[in-house]
């Protein structure tokens, strides 16, 4: 598809300035917005979408390598099935950030709603503040693909539920030097991957075990926390001074002994 193929009403929304494409999303349907993003394709590296008021699915299935800035509040399922590209939200995000995403990066300068990274298999998600329920649910890793979620704040119940792979880091940055994370049922049904909490958890599920961190954990943590800090211009050193809790599955097969054949 080329830009010419867009209807003139939609084309009028696009404006090129200093090598950056500006899209006015005010009142635009998500279908048209995604059509624009798909149409812009590869030659346009940076897109600013302005006046975003709750449009869903922004950046769904985008497989090219754009940098998309969302100014305003995107609706649910931002970056669903994302397969490349970087999506930066300048504001809060709602539910389903990075739903089933495969590749790419999502950065949210604010908070995010429920099921952040639902079933994501690859890519990185950085949320500056808190997240809702079931963050990282059923994220999984495979071969070279290892998804990462870093949350600057804390999360609600069922954090890391059914987690099958990947890394979930929760920093609790606004909770002082010894954060206590109040999410209940942490890691319910977890059977792969790892959760690092800065500070402590009050209520973990019986499917996880708490392990001390070793040098290799700190190596991973330092790398991922630095990446997070770089996005939000925060100093990583003070964050790393605090003690972390590591949660891993108690078994690869949490429900293996429930059945008779």
């Amino acid at each position: 598809m080329t830009e010419e193929s867009l209807s003139s009403a939609i084309r009028n929304r696009i404006n090129m300035k200093d090598g950056i494409v500006h899209v006015d999303a005010g009142g635009l349907h998500y279908k048209d917005l995604n059509t624009i993003l798909r149409t812009l394709g590869n030659p346009v590296p940076i897109v600013h979408i302005e006046n975003v008021y709750g449009q869903r699915y922004i950046g769904t299935d985008l497989s090219n390598n754009m940098e998309i800035h969302i100014c305003g509040t995107p609706g649910n399922d931002v970056a669903a099935f994302l397969d490349g590209s970087t999506i930066i939200v300048h504001g809060n995000a709602q539910d389903g950030v990075g739903n089933t995403m495969n590749r790419g990066r999502v950065i949210v300068h604010g908070r995010a709603g429920d099921i952040v990274g639902h079933s994501m298999r690859g890519g990185e998600v950085y949320i500056r503040e808190d997240v809702g329920y079931r963050c990282g649910i059923h994220m999984k890793e495979f071969e070279g693909k290892k998804p990462l979620i870093v949350v600057g704040g804390t999360g609600q119940d069922y954090l890391g539920e059914y987690m099958a792979g990947g890394t979930l880091i929760v920093l609790g940055l606004k909770m002082g030097s010894k954060p206590i994370h109040h999410a209940r049922f942490l890691g319910t049904g977890m059977h792969g991957g790892v959760i690092y909490l800065r500070g402590e958890a009050v209520h973990t599920s019986k499917e996880v075990q708490i392990k001390p961190l070793d040098e290799s954990d700190y190596k991973i943590l330092r790398r991922d926390v630095e990446a997070f800090c770089k996005e939000f211009e925060i100093q990583p050193e003070p964050i790393m001074e605090c003690e972390f809790t590591k949660l891993i599955p108690a078994s690869k097969r949490p429900y293996g002994n429930l059945y008779v054949y």
Partner: protein, 503 residues
């Protein structure tokens, strides 16, 4: 603990016929037979036998017969053998009893109590051998009306049609996930669907890339575990199906045990070798019709509105209301799987006690969508116990657009309904990922068996339609006047919307 379980079957070997060839020893996946070199005899451990008939078919001298163990418990109508065995097993192992295939209880089938009409005297029947019969079926949302425009003596369609699946007959292959069935089974289903002109459904385990070339005849499924779901997978299919539930286990998820997650299966499901593939019971982004709409439209966005989106549910008490919500949520196809729908593995208690018969669900769903004036917005596919062409044609007369067949396709490939799919040792090389067993199913021969079945059913459907004086399957859809019931109560007849035979 000493086991109080008895063998369910008895292996009877005709010693006169047995030539000690050891075929049975090699064929049995459950190590029932062994060769005793000292006595030059084949012996059998009855307790291992699952009555799969593999040895019966492959014994070159037909020396083997499998019988139900005749040593029954004392006759008791309340405490059946099945109930006693279940109790003993649970007392010994303390877990949920798992089984394979569909519900095996009597009384849940209505197809056999519905009879078809035929033309006599007052309207002529049609001979399908001499006259064209149309059974091609289009699945997807249909417009409320179409607008045509005359351009230079030609009529041009102005209405933009929604994407459709085109089936040469109203029969598709049900979801059978890779991992639950072997690669060869997936290959045979994909090839047969392509050759015949219908569709196979990946089930929730992803699609091996070697089969992407058949993508035009494949429905790709997105289930709660999202296994193998990535943009390439969504792109390759002809349609995407959101799996909410399945007839064999409404309301619960699935656990593919780690030992079945081999190298190939791990690649397709996109999880490491040997880890359990856990499908949560709900889709965690769907807690309402509004959320369902969100996923439907996320998938429409991801596939750029080029493919129909199907939603599959198990038939449960309020299916009609749910179906109405599904259609309003934007589903182009709704698939409903009845209580007799099969599975590779499910808790027996759920398989046999949860859900409702597909005939009743179909009748009430079709009626509800008609009453609400939205029947054309989605096609209806029914599944769960379609075992013959007669069932297909009755389903269409009751209101379905097409049927999914799972068990029937497996039986065509060799399955004998031993109900042991969950063991992963399917002796027919179907429900297994063990390389020694999967080799038993030759995909080319299985493809032929499947296309033969589709051809046979198509011919029979045309014969029956001709007999009714109908030459297009469209004219039969929802045509309940061509059905009559026998042995049904007034309430059953009312729900099915058919008259009593003789009326």
């Amino acid at each position: 603990m000493k086991s109080f379980l008895e063998s369910e079957f008895t292996v009877v070997r005709d010693e006169e016929r047995c030539i000690r060839c050891k075929v049975c020893v090699n064929q049995c996946a459950y190590e029932t037979h062994c060769y005793d070199a000292e006595d030059d005899r084949i012996l059998s451990k009855d307790e291992n036998c699952v009555n799969c008939h593999r040895c019966v078919i492959f014994c070159p001298t037909h020396a083997i017969r499998i019988e139900q163990n005749v040593t029954g418990y004392t006759q008791n109508s309340n405490w059946s053998r099945e109930a006693i065995v279940a109790l003993k097993k649970q007392a010994e192992y303390g877990g949920i009893l798992i089984t394979g295939m569909g519900c095996d209880k009597p009384n849940f089938t209505y197809w056999d109590r519905l009879l078809l009409d035929a033309s006599q005297v007052t309207n002529p029947s049609i001979d399908p051998l001499r006259e064209p019969m149309e059974i091609k079926t289009f699945l997807g949302s249909k417009p409320d009306r179409i607008e045509l425009e005359e351009v230079d003596d030609d009529v041009v369609l102005q209405t933009k049609l929604s994407p459709q699946l085109v089936c040469e007959a109203p029969i598709l292959f049900s979801a059978l996930s890779y991992g639950a069935v072997s690669f060869n089974v997936h290959t045979a289903l994909a090839k047969a669907a392509t050759e015949f002109g219908t569709y196979m459904n990946t089930g929730e385990g992803g699609l091996d890339e070697r089969l992407y070339k058949y993508g035009d005849h494949i429905i790709v499924q997105v289930a709660s575990g999202r296994f193998g779901v990535h943009p390439g997978y969504l792109d390759v299919g002809a349609a995407v199906e959101i799996k909410i539930g399945q007839g064999a286990k409404p309301g619960i998820g699935g656990h593919l045990p780690g030992e079945k997650v081999t190298e190939d299966i791990s690649r397709t499901r996109m999880i490491p070798v040997g880890t359990d593939a856990l499908s949560p019971a709900p889709q965690h982004d769907i807690y309402s019709i509004e959320d369902l709409r969100q996923l439907i439209y996320a998938l429409k966005e991801a596939t750029d509105y080029t493919k129909p989106i199907s939603v599959k549910i198990a038939a449960v008490h309020n299916s009609a209301a749910i179906a109405s919500g599904m259609v309003r949520a934007g589903a182009d196809i709704i698939a409903i799987d009845g209580v007799r729908g099969a599975t590779g593995s499910a808790p027996k208690v759920i398989r046999d006690n949860v859900g409702i018969p597909i005939e009743l669900a179909l009748a009430s769903v079709d009626q509800r969508l008609r009453d609400e004036g939205i029947r054309n917005h989605a096609s209806v596919i029914v599944a769960g116990g379609i075992k013959s062409s007669a069932d297909v044609i009755k389903a269409i007369a009751l209101g379905a657009d097409a049927v999914y067949v799972g068990t029937a396709a497996l039986v065509a490939m060799g399955c004998t309904l031993c109900q042991k799919c969950h063991t992963g040792k399917c002796p027919w090389g179907i429900a297994t990922s063990d390389p020694w067993l999967t080799k038993r199913l030759n995909p080319d021969i299985a493809t032929r068996r499947l296309t033969n079945l589709l051809r046979a059913w198509s011919l029979e459907i045309k014969e029956m339609m001709g007999g009714m004086g109908i030459n297009a399957v469209e004219s039969l859809r929802g045509n309940r006047m061509r059905l009559r019931g026998v042995g049904l109560t007034d309430t059953e007849l009312k729900i099915l919307g058919v008259k009593m035979a003789g009326d």
